[in-house]
Subunit: 153 residues, 2 copies
DNA sequence: CGATATAACGGAAAAATTCCCCTTTATGAA
DNA sequence: TTCATAAAGGGGAATTTTTCCGTTATATCG
C-alpha cells in the first residue's frame, strides 16, 4: 500500500498516542474528522495497524526483570526452526523472539519477576524445548529507551 | 502499588487490546463500568500505564528492516553512559536501548528501511556518538514474536 | 457492635466515534 | 479545453463510549 505524507504523519501520531481524539488529529493535519477516520479504518482493515495496546512502565512494577538470551539450536533445518517458533509463542515470559542472521540463533527478550524466576524459566521451560543446544543470557541493567514506534521515512 | 487479582486481569486486557470498551471489560470481570473506569484512571495517574499506542505490522510496510547492535563505549564512567543515553533518545532509528550487565555494553534495536540506510545510520549517526569504541551488528531474518505485554504474575 | 474507609453500583451528561449524504478536487480521455 | 469519472474531503446527526456524579454495599478496625 502506498502511503502519502498525511498517512505518515497520521501513523506517527497513532504510534505515539492512540487516544488522541480524531478531531484533534484532524485540526493538526488541517483536515476534518471524516478523511482521518477513513484513513484509520483503512489501516485497521489492511492490518497496517495490527492492534491498540496500553504500554506499562516496568519501573513502576517493582517485580520486573528483563533478560536477553540468545538460543542456539542443534539443527538449523526448517522444521526445527518452525517448531521452536511455535513453542515460543505460548511462553508468556518470552516477550519478543527473532531469528537472527550470522549465527542462526534466536534472540529472545524475556520478562520475569526476579532472578529466581529467570532460573526456573531458563533451566525449566527454555532448556526443555526441542533442539536447544546453547543458551547465553545477558541481563538488562537499565532500560534507556523503549518505544514501539516504527519510523516511517 | 499493590495489585490485586482484578488489577492483574485488567492490565492484561489493556495490554492486549486497549480499545476494548469499559462495559465489555466490566462484564468479563463481573463488575460494572465505574470500578473498572476508576482503576484505569489510577493506573494512568500513577504512570503504571504510561501511554496507549497503535502497533504497526512491519511485514505490511515493505521497507522495514530490523537490526540489533551491541555498542561498547571506551569509558564506563557514569557521565559517559548518561551522555550516550541522552544522545540515543533523539535518534528515531533507535527504537530500544538497554544497558546490559556483563560486558557493560548497550544493546540497541534499530529499525531502518534497508541495508543502505543501515550503513548510513551505523557509520554516520551511531559511530559518531562520543566514546563509541565498538559496534557489532546482527540482522533480524524473521520476527517470530513481538509483543509489548509485560506479564504480571 | 458502630464508625469509617474503600469499593461497587446505576444513571445522566459530556465527549468521541461512526455513518450518512453532499461537495470539492484531481485525473484522464476525447 | 471540457466533460466524465473517481478519489478525497466536508458537515451534521445517530450511536457508542467515556466521564462524572450521588448513592449503596462491603470490609476493616477500635
Amino acid at each position: 500500500m502506498k502511503l502519502d505524507d498525511t498517512d505518515k504523519k497520521l501513523l506517527a501520531i497513532l504510534q505515539e498516542d492512540s487516544k488522541t481524539p480524531i478531531k484533534d488529529i484532524a485540526s493538526r493535519l488541517n483536515l476534518t474528522k471524516t478523511p482521518i477516520y477513513e484513513r484509520i479504518k483503512r489501516y485497521e482493515q489492511e492490518g497496517i495497524i495490527s492492534k491498540y495496546v496500553g504500554v506499562l512502565d516496568p519501573s513502576k512494577l517493582d517485580t520486573v526483570m528483563v533478560v536477553f538470551c540468545s538460543v542456539s539450536l542443534e539443527s538449523q533445518k526448517l522444521d526445527a526452526l518452525e517448531s521452536f517458533d511455535k513453542a515460543v509463542a505460548d511462553i508468556p515470559e518470552v516477550v519478543e523472539c527473532y531469528l537472527m542472521g550470522g549465527a542462526n540463533d534466536f534472540l529472545l527478550k524475556v520478562v520475569v519477576k526476579d532472578l529466581q524466576a529467570y532460573h526456573t524459566f531458563s533451566s525449566g521451560k527454555l532448556a526443555a524445548l526441542p533442539n536447544v543446544s546453547q543458551i547465553k543470557s545477558t541481563f538488562v541493567l537499565n532500560e534507556v529507551k523503549r518505544s514501539t514506534v516504527i519510523p516511517i521515512f
